[in-house]
């Protein structure tokens, strides 16, 4: 890494990081608390009250079945966050493990694993995701699985590089020499050193995962009704664009918001870790 660039004006006020973390925490809390704070039942239909604009009874209006948009957006936030977290978490688990294994054992293991990762990485994101969903069938779980597969090579690559450095570093060498087990070395010495890099990557990828989920749902391949995800709400809302654009407008804004919060957090955190990039 570059020299520490200590006393220059590059130091960011940590307030930005605090604000970014605050936003992220608030968003996650809001999503988790959806059943408590949402004013209506997300599935309750009411033909009389459909396609309303924002008003006193329904702050953001209603969709084509008269379901409350605010409620559905809160629940949708939950579904979208769950899908993206599940996808990125799974990718981290699988990809990260593969990356660490490659770095630690080297040789043929590394060659084969990384080649397979290269092949997966060779596909443009949407192309591979669409293909996988075509095979697995649409739905929240399969969407998460598809995104996870697409992101697996990213984590494999991300963790392999630093892990290589750490694995050949003095303290791992010495740990090895005193007979510590491989798993123990990986868990105690290699992983902690990578935590911050991983956190940055996770929040950035969760942000794009939200967008990929939205794109897939837009194409009719993502989450299935009646469970609201933000992407599916946008997909349904766009059918009523001329008559009542609220559903499409607000669910799109919600997607933008949650993707933004995640990305902003990752961005700020990255700045903190590597001030050179500022």
């Amino acid at each position: 890494m570059a020299s520490a660039a200590p006393a220059t004006a590059r130091r960011r006020p940590p307030t930005v990081l605090i604000v970014a973390s605050g936003f992220l925490a608030a968003t996650v809390l809001l999503a988790l608390a959806a059943p408590l704070v949402a004013p209506y039942d997300p599935l309750a239909q009411s033909v009389m009250a459909r396609l309303r604009g924002p008003g006193a009874a329904h702050w953001l209006g209603t969709d084509q079945f008269g379901r409350d948009l605010l409620t559905r957006i809160l629940y949708g936030l939950r579904a979208s966050l769950a899908i993206s977290f599940g996808a990125v978490g799974l990718a981290l688990l699988v990809g990260g493990t593969l990356g660490l294994i490659s770095a630690y054992y080297r040789g043929w293991t590394e060659r084969i694993v990384m080649r397979v990762m290269d092949v997966l990485f060779a596909f443009p994101v949407m192309l591979l995701a669409i293909g996988i969903i075509a095979v697995l069938g649409p739905g929240a779980t399969t969407t998460a699985a598809a995104i996870a597969i697409v992101y697996t090579p990213i984590f494999a690559r991300l963790l392999r590089g630093p892990a290589l450095v750490v694995a050949t570093s003095d303290y791992v060498m010495s740990a090895r020499s005193i007979g510590a087990s491989d798993a123990r070395i990986i868990a105690l010495h290699i992983l902690p050193n990578l935590a911050s890099v991983v956190l940055v990557q996770m929040s950035l990828l969760m942000s794009t995962a939200i967008l990929v989920e939205a794109s897939l749902s837009f194409l009719g391949l993502g989450t299935q009704p009646p469970t609201p995800s933000l992407g599916m709400m946008l997909a349904e809302g766009r059918n009523f664009l001329l008559l009542s654009p609220w559903s499409a407008v607000f669910s799109g804004l919600a997607i933008l918001f949650v993707a933004f919060v995640l990305n902003f957090f990752g961005d700020v955190l990255r700045d903190q870790l590597d001030p050179r990039l500022r």
């Binding site: 080649r115 092949v119 060779a122 967008l211 407008v249 799109g252």
Partner: protein, 316 residues
């Protein structure tokens, strides 16, 4: 040294492309639902025997390995096969659909790059002021705005503000240059925003970096043409991150185009792909996925080489 680097990269490339072809082929065959059933539609009156006849007609009755070898053999000899039902050569279908996508992606890249330089410089200028955080927020928002949603919102806004404007669909450039650009400008803008945000950030940090350099300070102290040196240095500085992000941006454009083409009714590769999936047009689907992926891989390959060339620290 350099040759061995290129050679090893080429070997990797071949291995990856082989893997890509296998995954593409298998993935498509694993998709449930077969072409014959779809072509007939949900209501057709047809006996199972009749369906088998149709299946045999398009070669779907052979073992999968035979089908793969047959296909890959064709691909290697430049024969991508024929579209399932129209019997049009797949290569022709792709040739028709590739131009709108290239144009759309190219236009987005141009718009993004052209605006990124002044915006990045502005962002660097405003450094340390209250504006800075606003610009950071803006650039992150630019990165995360869903392009298809932006597209829909633009269509909606324009219908309200300027009804009667022709902005949907596609006219070949050769037929009507103005109409062609007019129809592509909105989708290109929708697709360009994340590119703009990304590049502007690169320009900004390169600019800041340049400002820190000793000789710039010296130049400034001497009062000589600071500006020229600054720009020259900053832009050269931005080159390396720019080159590395070309690969990412290509991937983004190829992915984003799939959805944006759908919104604006542009007959590009994304539409070809979705259409081919919908009708389980295996030869067409295989060729399209393979082609798009090969383009993506090739771009990344070139990026690697260029990167190694401009940054000699990178070896093997």
């Amino acid at each position: 040294m350099r040759r061995s680097f290129i050679l090893s990269r080429l070997t990797d490339l071949v291995v990856v492309l082989f893997g890509v072809s296998v995954i593409t082929f298998l993935m498509i065959r694993l998709v449930p639902g077969d072409a014959v059933a779809i072509m007939l539609g949900a209501n057709a009156e047809v006996t199972p025997e009749r369906m088998d006849e149709l299946r045999a007609r398009i070669g779907l009755d052979q073992p999968i390995v035979v089908q793969y070898l047959h296909w890959i053999g064709g691909v290697l000899t430049g024969d991508l096969g024929q579209s399932l039902w129209t019997r049009r050569p797949v290569i022709d279908e792709i040739a028709v659909h590739i131009w709108p996508t290239i144009q759309l992606a190219g236009l987005s890249l141009v718009i993004g790059a052209a605006l990124a330089v002044p915006l990045g410089v502005l962002m660097a200028r405003l450094r340390g002021r209250g504006w800075e955080i606003g610009l950071q927020i803006g650039s992150v928002a630019g990165l995360t705005v869903p392009s298809f949603w932006l597209g829909i919102m633009m269509i909606l806004a324009l219908t309200t503000l300027a009804p009667g404007v022709q902005m949907l669909g596609y006219v070949p450039f050769s037929q009507d240059p103005l109409g062609n650009l007019a129809r592509l400008i909105l989708p290109a803008i929708a697709l360009a925003l994340p590119i703009l945000a990304n590049l502007a950030r690169l320009v900004r940090s390169a600019m800041l970096d340049a400002l820190q350099q000793d000789y710039i300070r010296t130049a400034r102290a001497k009062g000589v043409s600071e500006r020229a040196i600054l720009y020259k240095h900053a832009l050269r500085n931005a080159l390396i991150p720019f080159v590395t992000s070309v690969g990412i941006m290509t991937g983004y454009l190829l992915s984003g185009a799939i959805v944006v083409e759908q919104v604006f009714a542009i007959p590009g590769l994304g539409r070809l792909l979705l259409g081919a999936i919908a009708e389980r047009n295996y030869p067409l689907l295989q060729a399209t996925i393979l082609l798009v992926t090969v383009v993506f891989v090739a771009v990344n390959f070139v990026v690697d080489l260029v990167y190694a060339w401009i940054d000699p620290r990178v070896k093997t």
